[in-house]
Structure formats: structure tokens, C-alpha cells
Symmetry: C2
Subunit: 410 residues, 2 copies
């Protein structure tokens, strides 16, 4: 007997029929003799619909009231799921954040879970009841309803798994696992049997939107094995866990990419302390998230400074940077909104040199110019012209042997 958290996202509980189907999957797991705690998101587009209502009333809705509003969505899905499980002849009861309780800090719209009280849920499990818990929501020390931010139900699932010492937190979704890259772009993409938390962080943040990034950090911190599984509950999915000592990690696990990129370059910046700050501060004060940052070595006392931002903030960034350039006496501001990012990710990279070499070699062979590079311990990202994105991803996917099952995989 194992103890599982089973988390279903909005698309998996979008309609009454979806809820009924998910209840069947849960019932099967339960009848296999396991303990199950269910965590749900709101049905389908509920959250977006509620958000639209709020914005029709207030251009910038009060965060406390927005949390009150949005947290109603999960209340609906958990109640219906408890009913559906009862129809399956099982004992089930729904639980809100304040009832568990799931204690958070007081930062509305992006609260952090501080503590999950387990007494109530343990009592339910001991009584053979399936607790159905509202994802995304919690309660602060003053009894105020809080929410954990977009995709927060994943975090709820992982937090419950950690608190209840579950064997796995299963994330049931409309794909059957984490892939070496997007199968819609590369038909040869392969499901990964395992990835590490670190790899998943890089893959998630780069566009493989299977899991909320915060939930992966959380899972890593508390060492909660997370399994991404298809809605149907069938298959092995992808297990996200720590690297095991006996596991011969592949050099590269996957290739992530993102189209929504833009590049801004400011040339001829006088090489004085504070100029880098003057540029970036302008952007970050406007709440624009800067991703890659590159500055070359000074030449004749001048440096070029490049960075990437989300594409839909390109115009605003260009404006901000033009005015900054004037102030600090830079020569020119250049930019392109037609760029994309490719990232090669793998924990095996740590002990293998040559990944960057292979990457540049492949891109050069295909005639793809690299406009910017950034690296981390387990990732190399490049910014290229968007029109080469598919070619780049496919070539790299093949070059790193991702279309063949790695030797260590079952």
C-alpha cells in the first residue's frame, strides 16, 4: 500500500464528464489498495472567467478581493468531485484551504505555504475517506483567504505530499509525461522516464508548461517524488526526483524553447561603474523580467550590453532603454522582436565537457547565427532568429541522440 497525492488540473476537471472520468481514475487507484488524497484546480476556464468579471469592475482589482473571488473556483470542483467519488461507492469529502488548514503568509495572489496541518487529513485517511482538497488556496494568520498564484494547485499537491509523507505526488494532466522536447515540433520527441528536479526546473521555466516552477522547487526542497501522468492514470509517466547515485544520467535530457523573446542591445556604453545598473534598473522598475544578460569586454572604454525580455514588453523596453541611453551617453539602441530561445538541458552536462561545442557546431552547420548565449550548470541557452527555431530544435534533438532511448532507461 502506498500513499498518493493525485492532482488534477483545470483541463482534467473542465466539465461534469471530465470530473466523472477523473473520479473513475481515482477510484481505480483506491481499489488497488492505496491511500489517496485528491487535489484539484478550478474547472476549465473558471479562473479566467472570474478574472474577466473582476476586470470588468475594476482595472486593478484589490488583491485580497481577487483571492476571495478566484478561490471560489476550486470550491466548486472539489464538491462535485466528492459527489462523483461517492457515486463510485467510495467515501469522500471535500476540504477547503481554511478547513485543512493550509496556512500561508499574507501575500495575496502569491502566498507561500507555511504549514499544512495534517491531523484532519490523517483522520480522514484512517477512516478510509478520500479527502478532496482545494488546490491554489490557503488561509493566512488573520483568517484571510489567500491564493498561491497561477498553477498553485501543483504547489498544494506537493505541499500535501510533503506534509503527509506521501510516496508520490502524481500530477495528472493532458500529456502522458515530460518529453525530450515539444512533440508537436519534433515528432521523434520521446517521453522521459525520469528527470531530476533541477532538469525539470530548467525545462519548466523554458516553456514545457507541465508543472508550475514553484512546485518543482518545493518538491526538490522536501524531496517529494513527483510523477507527471496522463489523465487516464495509465502508463508510467515521468518521475521527477533526485538523481540517484547509480543512475547513469544522459548528458542531455531535453531541449526546451520559447518563442516569446525579444532582444535589446545598447551599444557604445561608457565603461563606468553604475551604467549596467542604470540600464537594468529602468527595466526592472517597470516590472519587466529580464532573462539573458550579456556584456562584452570593454573596447576603447566602451561596452555593448544586450539582454532579452518577453516579446510583449519589447516596445516598452525599447522606449525605456532609448531614454536611458541618452542619459548615460551610449551610442545606439538596437533591438529585435523576432528572436527565439533554445535551451539544451541535462544534469549529465556537469561531468561532460563538449556540450556547448556540439551545440555551436550543429547550429553553425545549419547556418543558424547565435545572437546571445547564457549558461548554467545544467543548461546552455542560445538566442537565435525565430525563423530558425524549428530547424535548430530538430537538429539539436537529433545531435544529442534524444530520439533514441538512453541506455539506462528501461
Amino acid at each position: 500500500m502506498a500513499r498518493y497525492i493525485m492532482k488534477f488540473g483545470g483541463s482534467s476537471v473542465a466539465t461534469v464528464d471530465h470530473i466523472r472520468a477523473a473520479a473513475g481514475v481515482i477510484a481505480r487507484r483506491k481499489r488497488e489498495g492505496h491511500e489517496v488524497v485528491v487535489v484539484l484546480s478550478a474547472m476549465g476556464d473558471t479562473t479566467d472567467e472570474l478574472l474577466a468579471k473582476a476586470q470588468a469592475i475594476s482595472p486593478r482589482p484589490n488583491p485580497r478581493e481577487l483571492d476571495m473571488l478566484l478561490s471560489s473556483g476550486e470550491q466548486v470542483s472539489i464538491a462535485l468531485m466528492a459527489m462523483a467519488l461517492r457515486e463510485q461507492g467510495l467515501k469522500a469529502r471535500s476540504w477547503l484551504g481554511h478547513q485543512v488548514p493550509i496556512r500561508t503568509d499574507s501575500v495575496h495572489a502569491k502566498a507561500r505555504i507555511e504549514k499544512v496541518e495534517t491531523a484532519r487529513l490523517e483522520a480522514e485517511l484512517a477512516a478510509d475517506v478520500i479527502p478532496v482538497v482545494a488546490g491554489f488556496q490557503g488561509i493566512d494568520p488573520d483568517d484571510q483567504v489567500t491564493t498561491l498564484g497561477r498553477g498553485g494547485s501543483d504547489t498544494t499537491g506537493v505541499a500535501l505530499a510533503a506534509a503527509l509523507k506521501a510516496d508520490e505526488c502524481q500530477i495528472l494532466t493532458d500529456v502522458d509525461g515530460v518529453y525530450t522536447t515539444d512533440p508537436r515540433m519534433v515528432p521523434q520527441a520521446r517521453r522521459l522516464a525520469r528527470v531530476t528536479f533541477e532538469e525539470m526546473l530548467e525545462l519548466a521555466s523554458l516553456g514545457s508548461r507541465v508543472l508550475q516552477i514553484r512546485s518543482v522547487q518545493f518538491a526538490g526542497k522536501y524531496n517529494v517524488p513527483v510523477r507527471v501522468l496522463h489523465n487516464s492514470g495509465e502508463g508510467e509517466g515521468t518521475l521527477i526526483s533526485y538523481e540517484e547515485p547509480d543512475m547513469e544520467a544522459p548528458v542531455v535530457s531535453g531541449i526546451a524553447f520559447s518563442r516569446d523573446e525579444a532582444q535589446v542591445t545598447i551599444t557604445g556604453v561608457p565603461d563606468r561603474p553604475g551604467n549596467g545598473y542604470a540600464i537594468l534598473n529602468r527595466v526592472s522598475e517597470a516590472h519587466i523580467v529580464v532573462d539573458m544578460i550579456v556584456m562584452n569586454a570593454p573596447r576603447s572604454g566602451l561596452v555593448d550590453f544586450s539582454f532579452s525580455v518577453p516579446r510583449d514588453e519589447f516596445e516598452q523596453t525599447m522606449e525605456l532603454i532609448r531614454s536611458a541611453a541618452a542619459e548615460i551617453g551610449a551610442s545606439d539602441v538596437l533591438g529585435s522582436a523576432n528572436v527565439a530561445k533554445i535551451s539544451v538541458v541535462g544534469v549529465g552536462m556537469r561531468s561532460h565537457a563538449g556540450v556547448a561545442t556540439t551545440m555551436f557546431e550543429v547550429l553553425a552547420r545549419e547556418g543558424i547565427n547565435v545572437r546571445m548565449v547564457s549558461t548554467s550548470e545544467i543548461k546552455i541557452s542560445v538566442l537565435i532568429e525565430e525563423k530558425y527555431l524549428e530547424l535548430g530544435v530538430r537538429s539539436l534533438h537529433e545531435a544529442f541522440g534524444l530520439d533514441r532511448a538512453p541506455s539506462h532507461a528501461k
Copy 2:
């Protein structure tokens, strides 16, 4: 400065535009210098839509889960209202049943309020904040979400008014008050400036569906003046309160009626103790509500026994009574689903004889046969053929002078 509870029903907050309009009405009251606590129902048909979802999953949804589901509706309306009030430049915060808290017993779907804690709401009022409270919901001693039954938001409003010692509980709705009878049937119907709690109970239970009957009982018990007002907040509406000593009550305040009636008569019942019970018990065990009951004096050791039931339970009642008749040796079972009830209501009746006389005289003059009669201290009800309903109501409305303003009214 007065302290008001302002309760808006579902049709008054049906859309974002309705909510914005209601916020305007609340803001006006607040700017007049009054303290305001808002109580809301769910938006429009939300509750029915949620109920339909529940029934698609389970023919008889678990009451605890149904309360969990349905109470989400008010959470949406209060959050949006708090946002709308803030857009008006006012301080406002929404409050759920468990946050106030509004403590109830544990009877799901028809919980009774046991206590409203006022510390939090008083603190909000002291800080010049408008609390926006979810109607219909509460929390039981085990932290379980409960609901108060259909129209329970009225009860929430009255309970808050009692606990907070408000000057009035204002029920804002799509009519501008309580009328002497339904204006759609009798164009001469007049808005009543005042009615007593007792009259309102008789009028509400007989079809003037302005207020939930339980909220009126509650208001009477705690002597909370209730004012039925138009959504727009304009006009005087109808004040529901205790009869004042100096108030010369009109003999008849209003005429209520109901079409959804059916009559069942069982003839030639042997006049033995227990036969009445044998008949009625059969019906009440099937959860059919019996309204009027009439038994004539025995003749040759036999009695006729008549009662009325809701029309949609007529067929089932006839079946039950036919089998009961066979068992107790009654002669025959007769019935009609084409009957309607007219009730003449007024506290002044207590001290005035002759209301029944006038009533029978008027009905006889119009050729309307009375099939059944029942009386209470402040009400006389008759069952007649449905086709005479309009004629009966109009004739009685005129005969009791209800189309003229009474002498004591302003």
C-alpha cells in the same frame, strides 16, 4: 446616523452591471452618513446552475457536498461587490460565513444560525469599512460549511441586523414593497407602508415571495425592523415591524393567493379514533405537505375528510389515499387539481368580527363556490375552483377597500 443592513438578492446582483448599480446605491447610503453592512446572494441563476451540475453527477447529492458547492456562489458576488465599492472610493471588504463567523448547527442544506460573532464586523465598521457578507452560508462547530436553505440570505441579513443592533434590515429587491395583492392580477393593488411580522408571515407563506418566511420569523423573534425596498434604494418601501399601540390597523391588510393547490376528499370514513391519523400519516410519510384540513361532523357514524396538497403531488396523494381508503373501509376518494386558494390577511381581524361574513357574501354574490375553509387569528383562507381565482381576488380586494389608502397611512 443609523446602522443599516442592506441585503441584495440574486436578481439584484445578476451581472457585473447590476453589481455596479447596487454599489452605487450602497455608496449613496454610506455618504448620507450611515453605517452599512451589505449581505448578498449569489449572482442571478448561479445557484440553479451549480445545482444542475451536482444533479448531473449525482441524483441525490450528498448534503454536505452540496453546501460546499452552493456556498461558492456568494463568494463570487461578495468579492466583486467589494471591488465595485472600492471603485466608488469607499473602503470595503468581503467576508465569508466562516470568517465572520456566522455559527450554525450542523444540519446541512437547512442549517439554523446559532450565533453571529460581531467583533470583526464591529471593528470593520469602526474603521469606516463596509463589510460585504456572504448570505446563505455559515460554519458549524466542526468547521464544516453549512447553508441556510433557499432564500437564506434574507435570514443572514436579519441575523446580522439582530446581532449588530442595526436600525433596519433593508431587503433590496425588484419590487418596491409589499402589496395588498399581486399587482399583475389586480392593477388597483396598493403598496403597504407597513405590515406586521404576523401579516408578513401569512402573506409570504401564501405566495407573496418577497421574503423568506424563516427570515420573517427570525425578525419577529428579535424585533428587527425589516424594510422591503426597490433595488434603486429609492422610495419608502414597506416596513415590516410589530404592531404599534397607536397604529389603527386596517381590518384587512392584503389578499394572498396560490394556484398550486389540489384538493383530496375521502368520503364515508368510519368515525373511529385513529382513522384521521391513518389517512394523514400516509401522506406525510411521503413528505407531502398537507395545508388545509377539514373534517365535518359525523353523520350515521361516517365522516368526510378533506385536505389540500401542492398540485404537483396530487397524483401521488390520490394513490396513497385510495389504498388508505380501502384499508379503513371508506366509501370513496374524490379529488381535484383545479383548485386555488385565496387568503384574506390582517391583524385588525382579531378585533373585528364579520370579515368571514363579508368574504362569503362577496364570493356568493360572484357565484363562487367555497370548497374548503380554514382560519387563523389573522387569516381566512378558502379553496375555490381555479377558474374563479382572478374574479375572487379582485372582488375581495375591492370589498375590503384595499384599493384606497387606509386612514392611518401617511
